[in-house]
Symmetry: C2
Subunit: 424 residues, 2 copies
Amino acid sequence: MLGCGTVGASVLRLIEQGGETLHERVGARVEVRRVLVRDLDKARAGVDETLLTTEPESVFGDEGIDIIVELVGGEQPARSFIERALDQGKSVVTANKLLIATHGPELLARAVTAQVDLAFEGAVGGGIPIVRTLRDAFASDRLTAVTGILNGTSNYVLSRMLDAGLTFADATAEAQQLGYAEADPSMDVDGHDAAHKLGILAMLGFGLTPGGDPMHVEGIRAIEPVDHRFAARFGYRIKHLVVGRDHGDSVELRTHPALVPERSVLANVNGALNAVLLEGEALGPSLVYGQGAGGMPTAVSVLSDVLDVARSIAAGAPGLQTRGIRHTERARRAMADVESRYYIRFRVLDRPGVMAQIATALGQNEVSIEQMLQDRLPEVEGGPADVVMLTHGAREAAVQAALEALKGSAILVQDPRLMRIQDV
Amino acid sequence: MLGCGTVGASVLRLIEQGGETLHERVGARVEVRRVLVRDLDKARAGVDETLLTTEPESVFGDEGIDIIVELVGGEQPARSFIERALDQGKSVVTANKLLIATHGPELLARAVTAQVDLAFEGAVGGGIPIVRTLRDAFASDRLTAVTGILNGTSNYVLSRMLDAGLTFADATAEAQQLGYAEADPSMDVDGHDAAHKLGILAMLGFGLTPGGDPMHVEGIRAIEPVDHRFAARFGYRIKHLVVGRDHGDSVELRTHPALVPERSVLANVNGALNAVLLEGEALGPSLVYGQGAGGMPTAVSVLSDVLDVARSIAAGAPGLQTRGIRHTERARRAMADVESRYYIRFRVLDRPGVMAQIATALGQNEVSIEQMLQDRLPEVEGGPADVVMLTHGAREAAVQAALEALKGSAILVQDPRLMRIQDV
C-alpha cells in the first residue's frame, strides 16, 4: 500500500475486521506486506508499525507483492508509482480520480500490455459501486445517458442553502467547519471534481477516451437564495449535475447546476450524498446512490477492488476485467448545440416595457416561454424586481444569443442568471 | 437455454446486438447452442429456429455446453433441470426467484460440490444489480440493514391510489390492463413475491439460510384512499416495503406496507420501479434502483451473469463467485419483539369519551402518542369520523395488545388499521 491517510488506515482496519471471511471469499490469503509512508513518526492509531517503510524500493523490489494499492493521490509521484508497478506485472488498485481522468488511457493500456488489472472503483463516488455497475451490470446493455450528483460538497452547500436559507458563502463556510469542504473549495464548488468523475464514467459507459475536447464546466458560486425559492415555486430543486448523453454520432458531456423536478429521486439526494442515474437501452433507468466520499466508504470500494483482483490472480487469470474496458476517440457535441429547457432570472428595474424587451429578445431567437413569475424583492420597496422564465426546449446557442442581445440593457440591474432544467 | 419466453427472447436479442464486443469482454466466444421449448410451432419473432428443440436430452447430452440458462420458471421441471446441469458440471444462470428462495441452499451446495457457478441476478429486482452489489461491493463491509421496494405491481398500485385517488380495486384493475399485474395478483399484492426476494437478499447480505421461521408478510389490500391522504398530511407516503435488520444475536425480516418520509428517496420511487436501500457498517447508506421486472431488464441481468460465468470458465476458474456465498441458520427476531413507530387509524362513532377509551388502551400498554389528527368523513354528515395517531417507538406486541383491548368495542365502526412507520 502506498500512502496511509484516512482511506489507507480504513482499508487496513477493514482487512483486520474481515479476517478469515476475506480469504475464503478470495480463495487465497490477502495480506498487507508493506505500507509506504513519507513520515514514520506520524501517529497512526491501529496501524501495525512494522509494516511501515519510507523506501519505495522495499515495495517495488519485493517480488512477493502482487497488488499495489495506490492511495498517495495527486499527479506525482503517484503516476510514476503506478507505471512502475504495472510494468513490473503487479496489479494496481487506486482511488486516484485525477490520474484516471487525465492519464487513464495510457495507464489502462500499460495494464493490458502487462496482463494485469488496474482497478479504480474508489476514484468515482466513494463507496458507490458505479465503476463495477457500468463495467459488469451494463456489459450486455448500451448506456444512452448518465445524470449524476457527484460532488458531495456542492450538494451539501445547495441542500443547506435550500433548507436553511443560507447564502453560498455561509453554507460553504459551514461545510468547511464540518470537514465537507476544503480550505480552498474551488475544485468542488467550481465543478472540476465532478467533471473529472464524468470523464471517467464516460469512458466506462460510452467508450469515450477521456481528455479531448474541454467539456462545459460550471460551478455553484453564482446561485443565490432567491434562485432556490423560485425553483421551489415552479416545483423544482437546484442540484449540481453531471450530464452525459450518447447521441450515436457524438457524445454530450456537461457539468453545471440544474433544476430537477422536486419529486424525482435525484432531487431528494441531500447532504453530502452522491447519486448516479443511468439510462440503458434495454435496462431503462437505474440509479445507484450512497456516500460519495469519506475514508470508510472509499476504503470499502478500494478493498472490494483488491478482493476482485486477488480472486483473479488466485484463479491464475489476472487482468481480465481491465481488458474489458474499451474506449476510442469519439466526436463531442459542442455546448452550443445542446438542447435543454432553461430557467432564466432577470433582475430588472420595474418600469413599463421591460417585459416586452425581454420577450422580444427571446422571441427573435426562437426561444419560447413556458412559464413566468415576477416578484419584487421584499427588501427594496419600489426597487428592482426579479422576472423568472422557464423556457420550452431550445438550443443553447439560441438562448445565449438572446441573453447577449439583452446584455448592457438599461433595464437589467445584473447579468441574467441562467440554469438548465433537467427532467429526470 | 431452457425456456424461451419474453426474457429468453430478449437474452437472444441482446447476444445478437452485443456481437463481437461480448466475446472480447469475456475472452471467449459466447454462443447459444440449443434452446429447449415445449412447443416448436409457437411463433417466436427473431429467434433462430434451428436452435429450438423439445428434447431435454439434446441439451444435457451435449458436452460442448458449459452454461445452462434456466428460464422455465416455477418449481418443476426447472428444479430437476438445474440439479441435473450442476451434477454434470455445467454452470447455471437462472432468474427463478421461487427456486432460489425455497431451495437456494441445496442448489448452491450442489454447485460448490461440482465446482461450478450458480448465478441468479435476474431472480431479484429484474434489472437492478442487487445480487452483485451485495456479493461484490459489500464483500469487505458488514450489512446492517436492508429496506426495499421489491414488488413493482404493489408500488404501481400504491402510486396510482395516491396520484389519482383510486381505490385498491380500481388501481389493481388498471395495473392488470397495462400488464403490470397478473390475472390473479395475489403473489404480488399480498406480499409473497417481495418476501421471496427478501429471503434471497438476507442470504446474500446477512448470511442467513433462507426458509426457516416464517416471516411476517402483509400485502396492500386493506389500504384505503383515506390512508394515503392522512399519510400525506403527516408528511409521509405509503410504500410496500421489505425490511431486514441484523441485530447480531438475531435477524429481523418483515414485508408490509409502511409510511416513509415524503422527502426520502424511497418515497419518490414511483410506478413499477424497484429500489433497495442498503446500510453498511462502513459504507453507510447506499441505494440501487431501477426496473424491477420486464423482459429486457431481466435479460440484461441474466446476460451479465452469463458473461461473468463465461469469463470465469474461460479463465479456467469456474465456481469461484458461488463459493463466496456463505449462509448459516441464524435466530430470527419474532415479530412481537420488533420495535417501530406506528400509524393507527380508528374509524369511530363521534361521541363523547371515544378519545379517552382509545388513549386509555394505548396508555395501559405503554404505547405513547406522538401526533394525532381527527377528520369526519366528508360523505357522512353526523356519521363516523377517522381518528389517526402516530405513535412513538413501541414494541409490536404492545401495540397489538392495545388494539386487541379495543376490538369489539361499540365505539369502533371497523377494526383499527395499523401500518408501521419506516424512517429511511
